[in-house]
C-alpha cells in the first residue's frame, strides 16, 4: 500500500513538475563547492565561494520560477590532491552530488577533473589557474570558468614586455599551478622578444622569500615574475619592498594577484602593481550591485574573481540543467557549451569545445593611496582585453576534444 502511494506521488510529481523531473537523479540537483576553507586560499575562495553558489541558486530560482530542487554543499580540500580526490569520490559515489564547483589549487583541480570524467559527472572549475584544464588535460566533463594561466600571461606578461620589461627572473611556486603559470608566461615573454635569465622553484607555501629575492636581485633581470598566489604572493611582494628590490630598478610582476591580496598588502606596498583579472567589483552598475549584496553577507569583504566565477558558473549550470532536462554530467556539459552565457558579472560569453569559458579580461593598475576612496577601491582599469583575445585560441589548443 505504502509503495503504491509513493509511486502515485512520484507519478503526480512528474505530471506537475513536467517531464524534466524524471531525468533529474534523485529529484535533486546537488552542487558541491570544494575548496580551501581554512588555509592560504580561503579568502580568495573558501566560505565566500559557498555563499556565491547559494546566491546563484537563490537568484536563479527567483528569476525563472524554476521548480528544480537544488541543494548546495561545501567541503575543505586543504589544498591537498589526495584529500580533494577522496571528497570528490565520496560526493559523486554516495552523496549524490551532480556537479563540483570552484576547486582552487591546480593540483587538486586536475585531480577532480579526472574523477568527474571517470564518473560521468561534471566539474566546473573557477578556482584553479592551470591552462591545462582546457588544454592537454581537458575532458568532456570539465569546464574551466573564471581565468587561467594563459590568460594571465597574455594580460600581465605581454603588457610588461611591451613596456620594456624584457629580461625576466621567475619565483615559481613548486607545484602544478606555478609550473603552468611560469611556462605560459615564459612563452609570452619569448614571443614578444624578451628573455628569461633565471628561475627558482619555491616550496609551497613559503613564509620567507628573502633568499629567493636575493637570487632574483643578483640575476639583474629587469622583471621579477611572481608565479605564485595568495599568501606566497603577498609575502614576496612585501619582502621585495623590504629588500629595496624596486628601488634598485627591478620591477615585480604579480602574475596572479587577487583583490583580497591587495587588501591584505595595503596600497602603500601594492601601489603601481599591474595585474590581470576577469572580474572586479567596481566595473559597472551590475557588478557593483551584486558585490554589495555579497559583501553584506560576507562580513564586508568584497568578492574575488574566483567567487564571482562560482556565482556565474552555477547560474549557467542551472540554466543548462533546465534546458537539457537532465543532470547527467556529460549531457549538461554539452548543453553548457551549446547555450550562450550571460550574467551580470562577466557579461555575455560562451563555453568553447575545449571547455574554456570565454569572456573579456582586464589589465588593472593598483591605485596609489591618495587615489583610493577607501577599502576595496584599489584598481584603475589600464586596458580591456576583448573576449576573443583574452584566452588561448583554439588553434593552439592541445585539447583532444578540439577537432583540427
Amino acid at each position: 500500500m505504502k509503495r503504491k502511494l509513493l509511486t502515485l506521488a512520484a507519478a503526480a510529481a512528474c505530471a506537475f513538475g513536467g517531464a524534466a523531473q524524471a531525468q533529474i537523479s534523485d529529484n535533486t540537483v546537488k552542487i558541491g563547492v570544494l575548496n580551501d576553507m581554512s588555509g592560504l586560499y580561503s579568502d580568495i575562495t573558501g566560505p565566500g565561494s559557498l555563499l556565491a553558489a547559494r546566491m546563484a541558486v537563490e537568484d536563479y530560482v527567483k528569476a525563472t520560477g524554476s521548480r528544480l530542487r537544488i541543494e548546495v554543499v561545501g567541503a575543505d580540500h586543504q589544498n591537498k590532491p589526495d584529500v580533494g580526490s577522496n571528497i570528490a569520490r565520496q560526493w559523486f559515489d554516495t552523496d549524490k552530488v551532480d556537479m563540483i564547483a570552484d576547486v582552487p589549487t591546480s593540483s587538486v583541480g586536475l585531480a577532480v577533473a579526472q574523477i568527474a570524467r571517470e564518473k560521468g559527472k561534471l566539474h566546473v572549475n573557477s578556482g584553479s589557474a592551470t591552462s591545462d584544464l582546457s588544454g592537454k588535460a581537458c575532458n568532456a566533463n570539465t569546464i574551466h570558468w573564471a581565468y587561467d594561466t594563459w590568460m594571465l600571461a597574455n594580460g600581465t606578461g605581454k603588457a610588461i614586455v611591451r613596456n620594456g620589461g624584457n629580461t625576466w627572473f621567475f619565483l615559481t611556486a613548486d607545484y602544478a599551478f606555478g609550473h603552468a603559470l611560469e611556462r605560459d608566461t615564459e612563452a609570452v615573454v619569448t614571443k614578444n622578444g624578451g628573455r628569461v635569465v633565471g628561475k627558482v622553484r619555491t616550496p609551497f607555501p613559503t613564509q620567507d622569500f628573502s633568499s629567493f629575492l636575493l637570487q632574483a636581485q643578483a640575476s639583474k633581470a629587469k622583471i621579477i615574475g611572481l608565479a605564485n598566489a595568495g599568501g606566497d604572493t603577498t609575502n614576496s611582494i612585501k619582502q621585495a619592498a623590504e629588500f629595496g628590490i624596486t628601488r634598485g630598478g627591478q620591477n615585480l610582476a604579480g602574475l596572479l594577484v587577487f583583490l583580497p591580496d591587495v587588501h591584505s598588502l595595503g596600497l602603500n606596498v601594492a601601489q603601481g602593481l599591474m595585474l590581470t583579472e576577469t572580474f572586479y567589483w567596481d566595473l559597472n552598475d551590475q557588478t557593483r550591485a551584486w558585490s554589495r549584496r555579497f559583501a553584506a553577507a560576507n562580513s564586508g569583504k568584497m568578492p574575488s574573481m574566483v567567487q564571482a566565477g562560482v556565482y556565474s558558473s552555477v547560474l549557467h549550470y542551472l540554466k543548462a540543467v533546465e534546458a537539457a532536462k537532465t543532470d547527467d554530467g556529460t549531457k549538461v556539459a554539452e548543453k553548457m557549451k551549446e547555450l550562450p552565457t550571460d550574467d551580470p558579472l562577466f557579461g555575455k560569453g560562451s563555453v568553447r569545445a575545449d571547455g574554456r569559458k570565454i569572456h573579456p579580461a582586464y589589465l588593472f593598475e593598483v591605485k596609489k593611496p591618495s587615489e583610493s576612496k577607501g577599502p576595496y577601491d584599489y584598481y584603475k582599469l589600464a586596458a580591456t582585453i576583448p573576449a576573443n583575445e583574452a584566452f588561448r585560441p583554439l588553434s593552439e589548443s592541445e585539447c583532444p576534444l578540439v577537432k583540427k
Binding site: T202, P203, G231, E242
Partner: protein
C-alpha cells in the same frame, strides 16, 4: 671569487638571511625548551601564542595607537598572562600524567585559537609597518640588508643569551632547575614551587609572543603564521635535544643557516631539509645534539 658556482658575495648574503630566519627559530625553540625542560610539557600552543603576539601588536596599533616599542614590552606580558591562565586552569591538572596529555591539550588549544582568529580575520593576513627608525637598509657591500632584519638578529641573540644566563648561571635559575629535579625537596626549603612553574610557563609563552611581535613587520600578520612555523621549530628542539636551553639556541641559528644554503643550492628541498637532519640526528644521537639521556 666563486664557491660551488655561486659568487661569494651572494653566498654571504644568503648566510646572513639564514641567520635572520635562525633568530626566529632560536627564539621560539628557546621558549619551547624552557617549558619542556622545567614543566615537562610539550607546548603545542607555542605557534598559536607566537601568532597571538603578532595580533596583539597589530590590534594595539590599529585600535590604541600602540607603537612597535610599546608592543615589544606590552605584548609578551599580555600573552604571557593568558599563558598563566592556561597553566593555572588546565595544564596544572596534567603534570602527573603522561606527556601525551599535555601535548593533546595544547594542540587542541592551538587549533581553537587559530580557528577563532581565522574566523574573525580571514586567512590573507594584515599588514604591519616596519617601525620608522628601521625603515630602509644598509648596503653592506655584499648585500642590501634591511635595518629591521639586522635588529631582529641582535635582539634575538640578546634575549636568547640573557635567558640562558638566567637559567644556567643565577640563583633563580638554580631554584628552577632544582624544582624540576625534585619539587618536594625544593618546596621544603620554603620556595613556592607551583607559582614558580606558573611563571615559567608564562615566561616561555611571553618569548613566543615576543617573536610574534618581531615577525609582524616582516611577514603578514596571519592566523596561520604560527602553524606553519611550529613544526619546524619542534624539529629544531628535537635536534638540539629536548629541554636543552643552549641546544635550542645553537640549533636554531645553525638550522637557519643550513636552510638558507639549501635555498641557494637546491631550493625545492628547503622546506624538508630540517626534517632530514632531524631524522639523521635521531638515528645517531636519539637524545639530540645537546641533550642528555635520562
Amino acid at each position: 671569487m666563486e664557491i660551488f658556482g655561486i659568487p661569494s658575495q651572494a653566498l654571504f648574503g644568503q648566510l646572513l638571511i639564514g641567520l635572520i630566519n635562525g633568530s626566529f627559530y632560536a627564539l621560539l625553540s628557546l621558549g619551547l625548551a624552557v617549558i619542556f625542560g622545567l614543566l615537562n610539557i610539550i607546548n603545542f600552543t607555542h605557534g598559536a601564542q607566537y601568532m597571538l603576539g603578532a595580533f596583539v601588536a597589530y590590534l594595539g596599533l590599529q585600535h590604541l595607537g600602540m607603537n612597535y616599542w610599546v608592543a615589544l614590552v606590552v605584548t609578551p606580558i599580555v600573552v604571557g598572562a593568558t599563558g598563566v591562565l592556561i597553566e593555572r586552569t588546565m595544564l596544572k591538572q596534567l603534570y602527573k600524567l603522561d606527556h601525551l596529555y599535555g601535548l593533546l591539550l595544547t594542540f587542541g588549544l592551538a587549533l581553537i585559537i587559530q580557528g577563532l582568529f581565522r574566523h574573525e580575520f580571514g586567512s590573507s593576513g594584515m599588514p604591519y609597518p616596519v617601525p620608522e627608525v628601521f625603515k630602509g637598509a644598509i648596503n653592506t657591500g655584499f648585500m642590501f640588508l634591511p635595518k629591521y632584519r639586522a635588529w631582529v638578529i641582535v635582539a634575538s641573540l640578546v634575549v636568547c643569551l640573557a635567558t640562558w644566563y638566567v637559567i644556567e648561571r643565577t640563583k633563580l635559575g638554580a631554584y628552577l632547575r632544582a624544582a624540576t629535579e625534585n619539587p618536594s625537596l625544593v618546596q621544603s626549603f620554603g620556595i613556592n614551587v607551583p607559582r614558580m612553574i606558573t611563571l615559567t610557563y608564562g615566561f616561555g609563552v611571553g618569548l613566543a609572543a615576543l617573536a610574534g611581535v618581531m615577525a609582524a613587520p616582516i611577514y603578514q600578520v596571519n592566523p596561520t603564521m604560527g602553524a606553519d612555523l611550529i613544526i619546524v621549530v619542534f624539529a629544531v628542539v628535537v635536534i638540539g635535544g629536548m629541554g636543552s636551553i643552549m641546544g635550542a639556541i645553537v640549533t636554531g641559528f645553525g638550522l637557519g643557516l643550513i636552510e638558507g644554503l639549501t635555498k641557494v643550492f637546491y631550493p625545492e628541498a628547503s622546506s624538508t631539509v630540517i626534517f632530514v637532519i632531524m631524522a639523521i640526528v635521531l638515528l645517531i644521537k636519539p637524545a639530540g645534539l645537546f641533550g642528555t639521556q635520562k
